[in-house]
Structure formats: C-alpha cells, structure tokens
C-alpha cells in the first residue's frame, strides 16, 4: 500500500476546476437540460397531447424514468449505509459518489413525477386531499423522507472535509469559500463534535436501510396493487429492490471509472475497488436474474388467458427486441464480463456498468408500457395511435433532459466538494501506515 502523507492526499482530493473536457461536458448537459425545458414548456402550454400517451398508455417513459431514478437512488443505502455498518473499509472512496448519485437521482425522481402531471398547478391537491390508503401517497411520503435522509447522510461526513476546504482558501474562489463557511465553518474537529457526527452517521446508516427498502417496495406497489397482467404479482417488491441495487451498483462502477480518470485518482480508486465492486455487481445481477426468472417463467408456465397476450408480446412479439435487449444488456453480459478477473479491471468494469445502466433503463420501460397495451377489455373502436406507444420528441427531450440534469448535479457537486472523503481517507491511510509500521517492528 502506497504511503501517502496528509498533504498529498489533501491536494489530490481537493475539488479542481473543470478542464476543457469538463467544460464541454457541462455545456452538453446544459444544452440537453435546456432542450428538455423547452419541451416541457411546450407540454405545459399545449397539454399532454404533445406526448404519445393516450387513453391506454397513460404511463410512458416519464414513469419509466421515475422508476429508474428511484432505483438508482438506492445505491446510497447500499454503499454508504450497508457497507459502513459492516465496516467495509474499501468502500470509503465510493461513499460520497454513491450518496451524490442517490441525492441527484431522488431529486429528479420527484421532478419527473411533476412533469408527468398534466396540471402541476394542482399538485397541492395531493397534500390537501390525499388518501392515506393510496400507494401514491405512500410513495410521496417515502421519497421525501429518503431525500432528507440522503441529504443528511451526504452532509454529516462532509463536515470534516468542509473544514479542510476552508483551510485551503487559496485553492478555491470567493463564492465557494463563502459556501464552505456557511455549510461548515463551525466544525472544529472537537471530540464532542466527532462523537455526535459518528453517532449521527450510525443512526442514519441504520435508518436509511428500511427507508430505502420502503421507497422501492412502495414504488413497486404502484404497479403490484393493480390487477393488470404483468403487474399483478406478489414478486414485485423484492424484484424491484434487487433491480434497484443492481442499477445503483452499476452506476457506481461507471462513476468510479469516470472520476478516477478525470481527476487522476488511481491511488484512491484502485483496481482492487473495481475488483470488489465488480463482484458486488455480479452477485446483484445474479440475484436480479433470479427474480426475473420468477417473474416471467411462473406466469408463462401457467399462461393465464389475460396474461397470454402480454407475455407473448414480451417473449416474441412487439416488445421482444426491447425485452431481450434489457435482459441481456443489464444482466447476462455484465455477469459474463465481471465473472472473470480480467473483466473486473477498470475499463471492462466500466463497460459492464454502462451496460447495466442502459439495460436497466429499458427494463423499466418494459415493466411500465407493455402491460398498458394489453388491457382487460379489448381495444375497440379507437384511433390507431391508441394501439401503440412510441414516445414523442418532447417526451424524449424531457427524459434525456432529466437524465442530463441528474448528471449535472453530480458534476457540479464534484466541482464544489471532494468526490472522495478527504478526512476519512487520511484517517484510513494513517491507520494503515501505523499498522504496517507495527508489523515491520514485530518482524524486526
């Protein structure tokens, strides 16, 4: 293990200005966001008719996007909470990446739901006249709760780093310095403060796990509490959660590679991290594949009449390409790549992560739309546009805009705050060097 001193670690991990690539990246994201916003303004002024959603497909890619964002946000609880509680120290460099992915994803999950509403000005009715019996209300409550817990889980470990950022005033600009002071100038690293923070982190790590499970279980119940073929399944809670962990872990693999490359963090996000994270992704992919087998094989074996059209549409019909693409891309290929040690090297792991994320997005589309195109009562005497669904350019623009927005939050966060916890990394390196020194002394 490389012996790095505190100053080296700090200078390596301090947030840096965007280079040329970073600026272009931000510009591209802003452009996508702007196009998305323009499309949304069109939707607001002309109504939901600009989308391809009609009487039957009333949930389209906005809801697929929502489920995708909720899924990806679960990584916060996995990396930060579960690994932290189990003293998995190798995950330390990944905790902040995971938390910021979680916060940005859950933010855009909430935003995309408002976008899906034809009349967002009536949003307040949800709170004034909401029914506690409705899974939608449960989802609103759980998403809000998870957002705040994720923010706290992001903030508490940031406090010691804020002190370092304030100390290195010359490495930053005036605006950011003011921000750091506002957020954490009170942090003096006293034993009482450290004690409070440690306890708070423990409480948060324990609390976030059931909330994270609740958020995705409740999201799955939006579908599973209906009778529709394809949704009427008792498997949905566990199926969604396992899928959520997989896509979150895949996203972390991607983020690890990108940050490592862009910020030259090879000493901190090492090949060991890719190896270990790769193994986690394989395990989660196998678990998700198991739930997929349960979800599709069992109804296919029974082939109940209402489910027959839906299942045939998925296996060898209208949605066959997307269905098999999602299964192969999000599960099969990543398992094959990551099962071997060579596949768990940084670049192949990054590719596997990309495949997981892309495949998972299409998997959410497969969950939402095909069921709606196979209603109980046959479609009769309706316009042709009701019988199929392909998103309009406005929907694509808004969906891509929301994805760009989430990436923008992550990018801006990486510019403002250290993407790897500085203080925790210093403590870990000091612990390791103390340990290696003791071992050397024992040997001599």
């Amino acid at each position: 293990m490389e012996n790095l001193d505190k100053q080296k670690i700090t200078s390596d991990l301090l947030p840096a200005k965007f280079g040329k690539r970073g600026t272009i990246w931000v510009a591209i994201l802003l452009a996508f966001c702007a196009i998305g916003l323009f499309a949304y303004v069109r939707q607001l002024t002309k109504g939901l008719i600009v989308t391809s959603m009609r009487d039957y497909v009333s949930w389209g890619i906005y809801i697929s996007n929502f489920v995708f964002f909720v899924a990806i946000s679960l990584v916060g609880s996995l990396i930060t909470a579960i690994f932290r509680l189990n003293n998995v120290h190798w995950s330390t460099p990944l905790t902040r990446i995971a938390e910021i992915i979680a916060v940005s994803a859950i933010t855009f999950a909430a935003i995309i739901i408002v976008v899906d509403m034809g009349r967002p000005d009536r949003f307040y009715n949800l709170f004034l006249h909401g029914r506690l019996q409705s899974p939608i209300i449960w989802d609103v409550i759980v998403i809000t709760t998870y957002f705040f817990i994720s923010l706290l889980l992001l903030y508490f470990p940031l406090l010691p780093d804020l002190q370092i950022l304030i100390k290195f005033k010359d490495k930053t600009n005036r605006t950011l310095y003011r921000l750091y002071c506002f957020l954490g100038s009170f942090w003096k690293n006293t034993p009482q403060q450290i004690n409070i923070s440690a306890k708070a982190l423990n409480i948060l790590s324990i609390t976030i796990i059931p909330v994270a499970f609740a958020i995705h279980t409740v999201t799955s119940w939006l579908f599973a509490t209906t009778y529709r073929p394809g949704w009427d399944s008792t498997n949905f809670g566990a199926y969604f959660i396992s899928g959520a962990f997989l896509v979150g872990a895949g996203a972390v693999l991607v983020a690890m590679y990108v940050f490592r490359k862009e910020y030259q963090l090879e000493r901190y996000i090492t090949e060991v991290h890719f190896d270990k994270m790769g193994k986690v992704v394989v395990m989660l992919a196998l678990l998700y594949l198991y739930f997929n087998v349960n979800e599709f094989l069992v109804p296919a074996f029974k082939m109940k009449k209402p489910e027959e059209d839906h299942l045939k549409g998925l296996f060898n019909g209208e949605f066959a390409f997307v269905f098999w693409f999602a299964i192969i891309t999000s599960m099969i290929l990543p398992i094959i790549i990551l099962l071997f040690k060579k596949g768990r090297k940084p670049f192949p792991a990054f590719v596997a992560g990309i495949l997981v994320v892309i495949g998972s997005w299409f998997k959410r589309y497969i969950i939402v739309t095909p069921t709606l195109l196979h209603p109980f009562l046959p479609m009769y005497d309706v316009p042709q546009s009701y019988r199929h669904y392909f998103p309009s350019w406005e929907e694509w623009a808004i969906a891509i805009g929301s994805l760009a927005g989430a990436l923008l939050i992550i990018t801006i966060f990486a510019r403002i705050f250290p993407i790897i916890p500085i203080q925790e990394t210093i403590e870990e390196f000091e612990e390791k060097s103390d340990l290696s020194l003791k071992n050397k002394q024992n040997v001599s």
């Binding site: 006249h129 909401g130 029914r131 506690l132 019996q133 449960w138 409550i141 709760t145 705040f148 817990i149 706290l152 903030y155 508490f156 406090l159 100038s185 009170f186 942090w187 003096k188 006293t190 009482q192 403060q193 409070i196 923070s197 306890k199 708070a200 409480i203 948060l204 609390t207 909330v211």
Partner: protein
C-alpha cells in the same frame, strides 16, 4: 348435312355443359332454416323472433347478418310489419308496430310470416306461425297462493283453456326461479293453475318486493306468453352504505384505523429521527461557536 349435324351436336353439348355449370353454381348456396316465434310480455308487448340456422358438418349453427322481412297474415307489401337483421346469435327481433294495430285487431287468430332474403351464401327461406291471441291473469292470496288463469280470445270473448303447460316463477337478475319444487303446472278445465310460494327469505328490493311471473313457453297455438305481478313476499334489502366507513377504498380521512396507526407511527418515528439529527447539527454548530 353431315357437317350441319356435327355443328348442332357440339352446340347442344356446349349448352348442356354451360347450363350444368350454372345450375352447379346456383346449387352451391347452402340451405337456411328459419324458425319464427311469437312473444307476448305482460299482455302489453308483443314481438316476433326469427332465428336462422344452417347445418355445417351435421351440426346446426346460428347464422348472423341475414335480412328478415316480417309480415302479418300474408306476404304482401300492405301486410309488411317490419324488417330486421339477425344478430351474432342468429336472432332477429321485431316488435309489432302500432301501424299493424288495425289488422291485428281484425281476428282472434293471426298468422305471422318471416321471409329471409337470399344472400350469396344462402337461399331465401320463410317460416310462419299461426297464433291465437291469449293472455294470462295472475291472482294472489294472503297465504302466498298464486292462481294463474289462461284465457284465449274466441271471436270477442276470453275463454279459459284447458291443458296448457304453465310455469310459475320469480324473476331474478339473470333468470327465473321456480316458486317451489314443481317446475310446470297444467291448466284445469277453468284454465287455472294454482301454486304456493315457498321461497321464504328470498331477497327483494328495498321494500321487500319481488316480481312474480306466470309464463307459457313455446306453445304451438299461443306462442310464448308471460304475465308479471309485483308482490311483497321478499325480504327487505338493506343497503349498507360503505361511504362513511373506514375502508381501504374509502375517501380521504376514512382510512382504516390500523393503517393510520401503522403509517403515522412509522412517519413519526422516522421523521422524529430526522428532526433529532437536525437538532444534532445545531448542537455541533453551538459546540463549534463555543470553541471559536
């Protein structure tokens, strides 16, 4: 001469072949059977029902889409009473129109005719039924006895008819329920039948009313007749409104207590933790200021 005979022979042969082809083409049309029935509901609504069937592989199948023309007495334009097209079950229904009232009142016996139109698949066919006007009169007693009298019109007088099979039943949502274990009654010399209602505790409407029906089915002479009477022999159906009850499907503010307890206790405990942690941040801030 010989040549002329040969030409004549070939011409005759050609004509024979052509006419055979034509008749073959004509005879490729299938046979259609038409059945005509007369219905009289409650002595007020009279209608005709024509059913079309065809034999396919030895089995009768209903035929849809056949135009049927209905006549009264004879198949002349003046006696045309209406047209209908058979539905997916092969039935064409025609309510006897007010315009036919005059001819309807002329005789106690009426003949109805149904003529199916010729279609590319089926030959035209017809059916007729001769009906003597009749009616059923229901009477009930306090001891839940039901007396139904079958009367037929003879010139201008109603006369009771013997040996007519009748049923006494209660009208339910999807069919008729016999009033007791006897499925069919036969009218006596007074044209009457009598039965006792034995379906105690049968749910009625909000006032406890049920609909009694006396009917004759598929009688060759009189057709299908029915007569109804509302009687207060059912149990009163109390509608328990669920509107204000606490159920999973009720309105806002009416969730089940167990759900409210679970949901609010979870929310209070989790948000209590969040508020506690926010207060811990305040404590950290205070500690920092003290050190500063």
């Amino acid at each position: 001469m010989m040549k002329r005979n040969i030409y004549l022979f070939w011409l005759i042969l050609l004509l024979l072949i052509t006419s055979a082809q034509i008749s073959k083409g004509q005879s490729s049309k299938r046979e259609l059977s038409v059945n005509l029935s007369y219905f009289n509901q409650n002595n007020s609504i009279q209608y005709l029902s024509a059913q079309t069937k065809t034999k396919v592989d030895g089995k009768f199948q209903n035929v849809a889409g056949i135009p049927i023309t209905f006549y009264i007495n004879s198949e002349i334009p003046n006696n045309l009473i209406g047209k209908a097209i058979t539905n997916e079950n092969g039935y064409a229904i025609l309510f006897i129109p007010p315009a036919a009232q005059q001819i309807w009142k002329q005789n106690a016996k009426q003949t109805f005719l149904a003529v199916s139109a010729s279609t590319p698949q089926f030959e035209s066919n017809n059916a007729s039924t001769e009906i003597t006007k009749a009616k059923i009169v229901i009477d009930t007693g306090t001891d839940k006895t039901i007396t139904a009298t079958f009367l037929a019109l003879n010139d201008s007088t109603w006369q009771p008819i013997k040996s007519i099979d009748m049923k006494l039943a209660i009208k339910r949502f999807d069919g008729d329920l016999d009033i007791n274990e006897t499925p069919t009654y036969t009218t006596d010399s007074l044209g009457q039948i009598s039965g006792v209602y034995k379906r105690d505790n049968l749910p009625g409407d909000s006032k406890g009313n049920i609909v009694l029906v006396a009917k004759v089915e598929d009688n060759d002479q009189f057709g299908n007749l029915s007569s109804e009477k509302i009687v207060p022999w059912g149990t009163i159906l109390k509608y328990n409104s669920q509107f204000d009850k606490r159920t999973l499907f009720a309105r806002s503010g009416r969730a089940p207590i167990w759900l409210e307890l679970i949901a609010y206790s979870i929310m209070i405990s989790v948000w209590g933790i969040i508020i506690f942690l926010i207060l811990q941040i305040r404590k950290v801030i205070k500690l920092g200021k003290n050190v500063g």
